[in-house]
């Protein structure tokens, strides 16, 4: 690694730290300006006021806001997100339990999106204005415009209920023994431990949710691949390659695609960051025990530490995905390091 690249990484990491500091402040104040009472939400509508006050005192929620902020920031600097009001466990422990499921789903979704999106993009660009291009366009428009909730239920109805090809909910069948936990991601853990029954069962369970979650991403990747391919295919070096008598396949896959993929990487990186947020709707439809549902459940009972910890963690994951994209870019294109 040369010095310039090293400086660039250092600069990006410092910027990221600054962003995370800003995020932590915003997250704290947004969570605390909600005009509601977390203890009341936790205890339910029937709880008498005296109990609500007692509980507020116990949890330190009757302290001045600045004092609560100080406790939160000191905790954060020590890697402590606090204890969830709902689960009564450290938030970091909750996140470590839920995040692997989200990560696993995001990985399979992005793989699905990349494969299908890039293929569709190439076909559209190479056969511009053909029926395949029109099909790809319609497919993409549907992908970004159809609500995930609807797509999910339709696929569930067809592939689970009517055809019975794929399972309906969860990460594994009820009677499949989960593999030994290594990463927390069921399919990868099954693979690492050689538990093929769990591996196969896990794969079957992830197909529908990853398609549903990855559909919109497929559309974006497909469109950006098409645009980028069209741009590259018009350039002189492609004409030269064709003039040299290279086969169409080699021109497209070896010369055009490789150059066209650079902007696609940005979209993939940012999309992957987005998928890590936890796809609340997909997780809800398919009973997927991921981070998105954890945060939504926390929001419903105003579990401050969980909301703040979960949001901070997602921001961190998104920033890391962004950083990875920038570094890849910097490695590929030296102009980016300036």
């Amino acid at each position: 690694m040369n010095l310039k690249l090293g400086m660039y990484i250092l600069k990006r990491l410092s910027l990221m730290a600054l962003v995370m500091f800003g995020v932590s402040i915003i997250v704290f104040f947004i969570a605390h300006v909600i005009p509601a009472d977390p203890v009341g939400a936790l205890l339910g509508g029937n709880a008498p006021p005296a109990l609500v006050d007692q509980m507020k005192h116990q949890l330190g929620l009757d302290k001045p806001l600045w004092e609560q902020f100080e406790i939160y920031m000191v905790g954060l600097l020590h890697g402590n997100f606090g204890t969830s009001l709902k689960s009564n466990r450290p938030v970091i422990q909750d996140i470590s339990e839920y995040f692997p499921a989200t990560l696993e789903l995001a990985i399979f979704s992005i793989i699905f999106s990349i494969i299908l999106g890039v293929i569709l993009g190439i076909i559209s660009a190479v056969h511009r204005n053909s029926w395949a291009d029109h099909f790809s366009r319609i497919f993409s428009i549907l992908g970004v415009s159809m609500p995930v909730f609807w797509t999910g239920l339709i696929l569930l109805l067809i592939f689970y209920y009517l055809l019975g090809w794929l399972p309906g909910a969860g990460q594994l069948s009820l009677f499949t023994i989960p593999p030994k936990r290594i990463t927390g991601m069921v399919i990868f853990d099954a693979l690492f431990t050689g538990d093929w029954a769990a591996f196969w069962d896990g794969l079957r369970h992830i197909v529908l949710p990853s398609i549903v979650l990855g559909y919109a991403a497929t559309a974006s990747i497909g469109r950006i691949t098409r645009a980028s391919m069209l741009d590259v295919l018009r350039q002189d070096f492609i004409r030269t390659a064709k003039a040299k008598g290279l086969s169409k396949r080699i021109v497209i896959y070896r010369h055009a695609l490789r150059n066209a993929l650079i902007p696609v990487i940005t979209v993939i990186g940012l999309t992957f960051g987005g998928l890590l947020e936890g796809a609340v709707l997909t997780e809800t439809i398919f009973g997927w025990p991921g981070l998105g549902r954890y945060i939504v459940n926390a929001l419903l009972v105003l579990d401050y530490p969980a909301i703040m910890g979960g949001t901070f963690f997602i921001a961190l994951a998104y920033s890391l995905a962004n950083l990875a994209v920038d570094l890849t870019y910097a490695a590929l294109d030296p102009r980016m390091r300036i």
Binding site: I34, P35, A36, D37, P38, G40, A41, L42, L43, G44, G45, N46, P48, P49, A50, L51, V52, Q54, M55, K86, S87, N88, R89, E97, I119, L153, L156, L157, Y160, Y161, L163, G164, W165, L166, P167, G168, A169, G170, Q171, S173, L174, F175, W200, D201, R204, V207, T284, I285, F286, G287, W288, P289, G290, R293, Y294, V296, N297, L300, V301, L302
Partner: protein, 522 residues
Amino acid sequence: MHKFTFVLVGLILLMGIVGFSTIPKDTLVIGANTGIFITLDPAVCYEVLPSVVVMNTYSGLFKLESSNGVIKTVPEIAKSYEISKDGKAWTFHIRHGLTFFDGDPLTADAVIYSYRRVLKLNKSPVWLYESIGLTADNMNKTIKKIDDYTVQIITNKPYAQNVVMSILAESWGGIVDPKITEAHSVNGDMGSRWLTDHSASSGPYILKTWKRNSMIVLEANDRYWRGAPKIKRIIIRDAPESTNQLLSLKRGDIDVAWNLTPDQINSLKGSNNVKIVTTPGQSDEYVGMNAGWGPFKNAKVRLAVKYAIDYQSIIKDVVGGYAINNQGFIPYGYFGYVSQTPFHMDIAKAKELLKEGGYPNGFEVELVTNTTERRRNEAISVQSALAKIGIKARITIMQASQMYSKFRQQGLQMIVAGWGVDFPDADALAKPFADYRVKQLAWRLMWYDDYAANLAEKAGFEKNPAKREQMYEDLTDYWFLNGPFAMLYQPLQYWGVRSEVKGFDKAVQGYALVCDLTEIYK
């Protein structure tokens, strides 16, 4: 490309070849939204479905039983009890030879420990113990061991028998094993963090696993003193989306769907494989009017609102008929239940009452409710009914937490909400709805009516059942005319259940307070 397509289709077909697992006969699979689960520690748990798990894993001195819609308390680990002449000292005799699921003996020490633990931990259920005079400060004097098999509780007032029994019979009355609990105590939490997802119990089932947002697994306790239940394993599978529950039920991947909508339940009518089970819910749905605010200070205006609402339409159109037209505060099936339904939509009468109340041209009011579709539709129905008598209601939708926060501060003019029964006695309804001194609903709506408050309190002490019943009837009559509530309905609970599952209807007869999973078999 063709190769790729073939591989893809082949893979999907191959995945389909591996068939779906069928549910064994000794296993019950329930599909439910488990997002509500917070803890399974009996001293902390307060939500309905988690309480089902707690009450089927922990035994208490008494248990609740429901028969033909009537919930009563029956002895569980207590074999008998006596009440002192002054009605304040309650002595319980515990069965001999009982053990927790791991073989530890269950004696008076465990009972004392468990009751004091609720008070020390000071979580959601604590106010119920405090409501009968048991507090963390006086617990050494009020919760006492007489001998290894006898405990005594001293209440602050001579409450009616069923008040005390039903409070002790609820999930927070579950007895925990002090040995296991203390072994897992961290920073003096009396094992609370550990008990969130573990068992230290003696009931019919043992909590084996709780994988959050995934599943909860219960296994039959062979040491349960009544004998192990017929269903050996119960799996509560997390299925937050009701359509998913419906499809899984129809395919036979789950035995019971817990959270279906009225439309989905109706779609199951006529099915050969699935039956519909319903039971009266343990809650009330109401419109509350703040008696300390503007026009609602006048009882005639409040009465006008009660005559303007179209109750039948709300029951038919909003909840698909899955409700009982109960206009009193005591639910159907309870001691003290009043079957009269004096209110029906009568616009002429409502207008007349409004005129007599001094508001012939109506007025403007903010009507608050929370974000659920059902509540929103109820509010819209109330709004349109009020418009007919000139009252312009502006609907404000809030998150439940935000709404209850304002409500607790007496900050709402009008509200559409619900009230779940805390323990199965008329006292659990009469006080919130009529006694402002307990600082619950009547207080939140600033209805400072001493006659109603005194009558509600007095009925809670009355030992003679006939007199007590009359008191509740008198209170309800007075409340109909003067109270700040228009009771919309008592909901019905409903489930979709596979035909091969037997005894489910009996198990859920008192649902929301009691759900006895040991009644179920296949």
